[in-house]
């Protein structure tokens, strides 16, 4: 008797859609696994889950998962998702995007989704560059880094994604990596549960483009960098500032009570109805 398939298969379009498009050593598949485990822990029905994405390596994810899936245009995942959520607020919606997709071409949409507090979970897989088009720089490429479009090194400062999202008003903001996978599963579960706009930045390696351009080694070496260059929030608090310098902090930075856009809209409808009734 063949061994039963791991439960993850229940959530995959496993018959025809594999092998996937991602390169060896890419972190995106690990994020997909983490999303599936988080969804499974919440016992969400597949019929009620919507995954929207934009364009790029990360945005190819919807093909592989057996949810309701929309692969949209570049940068617009959250705008499409906003329409889906408003049309049917009972659906659980996640937007998976790369760093260029979410923060450059989609920058306008993500700050307004955060401000509006629409009940969507935005997952930004940050691999420091545009992978699908061959490794050009993105708004999070570190200063000095080499990419296909920064042959002499990156001169623009990058976004701190979590600070940006906190400033824009998101009630849940977190950062994880594809190395710290148990932690990522937990962060995603919390983000999915959150009422309102939740953002999870996931640091992931791109050995094919960013790794090669900056001589960071192969997939294993790049995983080690995620392990060595990041610390969690409690470690950061316990460390002297000079020791924590240069380290990227992981963990949940914002988790506050908020009223989602859908709840506000429902109240607006009530108010409009009452006003119309009173004026009659």
């Amino acid at each position: 008797m063949p061994a039963p398939l791991p439960y993850e298969y229940k959530y995959l379009r496993s018959k025809k859609k594999f092998p996937h498009v991602w390169c060896p050593g890419c972190g995106i598949g690990i994020v997909m696994g983490s999303i599936i485990r988080a969804v499974d822990s919440l016992s969400w029905e597949k019929d009620n889950i919507v995954m929207v994405s934009g364009i790029g390596c990360t945005s190819r994810m919807p093909v592989y998962v057996d949810f309701n899936t929309i692969h949209t245009t570049h940068g617009r995942a959250l705008a499409f998702g906003t329409g889906v959520k408003m049309a049917n607020p009972s659906l659980n919606i996640m937007a998976v995007m790369g760093d260029g997709d979410a923060l450059a071409i989609g920058g306008n949409h993500i700050i307004h989704a955060a401000r509006r507090n629409i009940n969507i979970t935005a997952i930004i897989v940050n691999n420091d560059n545009y992978g699908m088009t061959g490794g050009q720089f993105s708004p999070v490429t570190p200063e000095g880094a080499k990419t296909a479009t920064t042959p002499y090194g990156m001169i623009e400062p990058g976004f701190d994604v979590c600070n940006l999202m906190e400033g824009a008003g998101a009630p849940f903001v977190a950062r994880g990596t594809v190395y710290h996978i148990v932690e990522l599963d937990r962060i995603l579960t919390r983000a999915f549960r959150k009422k309102g706009f939740s953002v999870v930045e996931v640091l992931a390696p791109c050995p094919t483009n960013f790794g090669r351009a900056n001589r960071l080694g192969g997939p294993v070496e790049m995983m080690k960098l995620l392990k060595e260059n990041t610390i969690n929030i409690s470690q950061a608090k316990a460390m002297k500032p000079e020791d924590a310098h240069g380290k990227i902090v992981r963990g949940v930075f914002v988790d506050k009570v908020s009223i989602s856009y859908e709840e506000r809209y429902d109240k607006l409808c009530e108010k409009a109805g009452n006003l119309a009734g009173a004026s009659r």
């Binding site: 245009t73 705008a79 499409f80 906003t82 329409g83």
Partner: protein, 380 residues
């Protein structure tokens, strides 16, 4: 009651569009403020919360049309309203809706361009943008109303066609039509046909999101109904998954084309006034059609007879009817509020022996009946 069924009222064109959307059962509106279309968004912001339907002002026009597509995929009949510069931004989403075959209604109240142009003044400058604005070969349906009652009825027709053809439909009132007020009598409730959202009748496991049918259109399930499917702007197979297989790519592209070109009879809508018996015809649409009818009457008093031909559906262009009705004419005068757009389609469908004469006005004002009369007298 928001739509004053059966009553006679003084109504603005844009207001009639908003009321038409309510009559058609709009469930989602997303838009971004732009002159001269704002009354549509403003009125729906007032009406829709009363109906418990969803209205949102997005951060830009790209987001607006993107939200529209998402909402319709989740089952809500959707519309947006904009003008030239916003219409340019919406081309990305328009192409996606064509490719993914998502019904929606896009109202473009035309103002002077290019760029910011003449924001408060009239033009018919977006005729070719409506046809070819988004990249790649794609199907297009575009309608141009000429009065306030048509703004109401044609908005409903636009919703109906978008569901019947599973494609975006563009409504192209020019600024004059959007901002003019006329006394209109609304039809009785139930007198106008409203196309229901199609529902697939196959079991979930048999469902193909792009099932091939004789009409080239298949009923679309919505997200959350138990039919799980994938939607992409990539060229896709019948299930919606990306493909590069020659047969599937050609099949998809041809089906997109044929769903319009093989059902032209359902789309064509022209008005002809004394066209058959007169060797001179004025070819006009939108607000210019009104001036053309007035010019025809003025010329009649001077014992000069001309016909008036109006395409109501601009895209697909009424090729066959133009060929049949106008190819025998001596002169066709084509007055347009642009430097010559639809005139090229008239030229394309008529022989060299027909003189196709343009009349342009591009200063943001209407083409008057007198201007048309003078132009006709010059060519007669």
């Amino acid at each position: 009651m928001i739509v004053p069924w059966g009553e006679t009222r003084l109504v603005q064109g844009n207001e009639a569009v908003a009321l038409g959307a309510v009559a058609a059962g709009i469930e989602f509106f997303a838009g971004y403020p732009i002159t001269p279309s704002t009354e549509i968004a403003e009125l729906l912001a007032k009406y829709m919360p009363l109906l418990g339907t969803k209205w949102i002002q997005m951060e830009d026009e790209i987001a607006s049309i993107s939200a529209l597509i998402g909402a319709r995929l989740a089952g809500a009949k959707s519309m947006t309203a904009t003008s030239g510069p916003g219409f340019s931004l919406m081309q990305e989403g328009l192409g996606y809706a064509c490719m993914a075959e998502v019904p929606l209604v896009l109202v473009n109240v035309m103002r002077g361009g290019p760029s910011t142009g003449l924001p408060t003044q009239v033009a018919q400058g977006d005729i070719m943008q409506a046809r070819w604005g988004t990249h790649g070969d794609h199907p297009v349906i575009a309608l141009a109303p000429s009065n306030v009652r048509e703004c109401f009825e044609m908005t409903i027709r636009a919703f109906n066609l978008s569901e019947q053809f599973r494609t975006p439909v563009i409504l192209l009132p020019d600024e004059i039509i959007g901002h003019m007020r006329e006394r209109i009598t609304f039809p009785a409730e139930g007198d106008l046909y409203v196309e229901p959202k199609p529902v697939p009748d196959v079991p979930v496991e048999w469902y193909e999101h792009y099932h091939v049918t004789a009409s080239n259109v298949s009923p679309m399930a919505c997200i959350g109904s138990g039919y799980r499917f994938h939607v992409t702007g990539l060229t896709h197979d019948v299930h919606g998954f990306p493909t590069r297989k020659e047969k599937e790519v050609i099949g998809k592209m041809n089906r997109l084309k044929h769903k319009i070109t093989r059902r032209l009879d359902e789309l064509e809508d022209v008005r002809m006034h004394d066209v058959e018996e007169n060797p001179v015809t004025i070819f006009a649409y939108g607000s210019v059609y009104r001036s053309a009818l007035a010019a025809q009457a003025m010329l009649k008093k001077r014992k000069k007879k001309v016909g008036v031909f109006r395409p109501v559906t601009l895209w697909p262009f009424p090729d066959r009817t133009v060929k049949e009705e106008l190819d025998s004419k001596e002169v066709i005068l084509v007055p347009e509020l642009n430097q010559g757009q639809l005139i090229h389609e008239v030229e394309r469908m008529t022989s060299d022996s027909v003189r196709v004469v343009p009349l342009h006005r591009i200063d943001g004002y209407e083409i008057t009946p007198e201007e048309i009369v003078n132009a006709v007298l010059e060519v007669m």
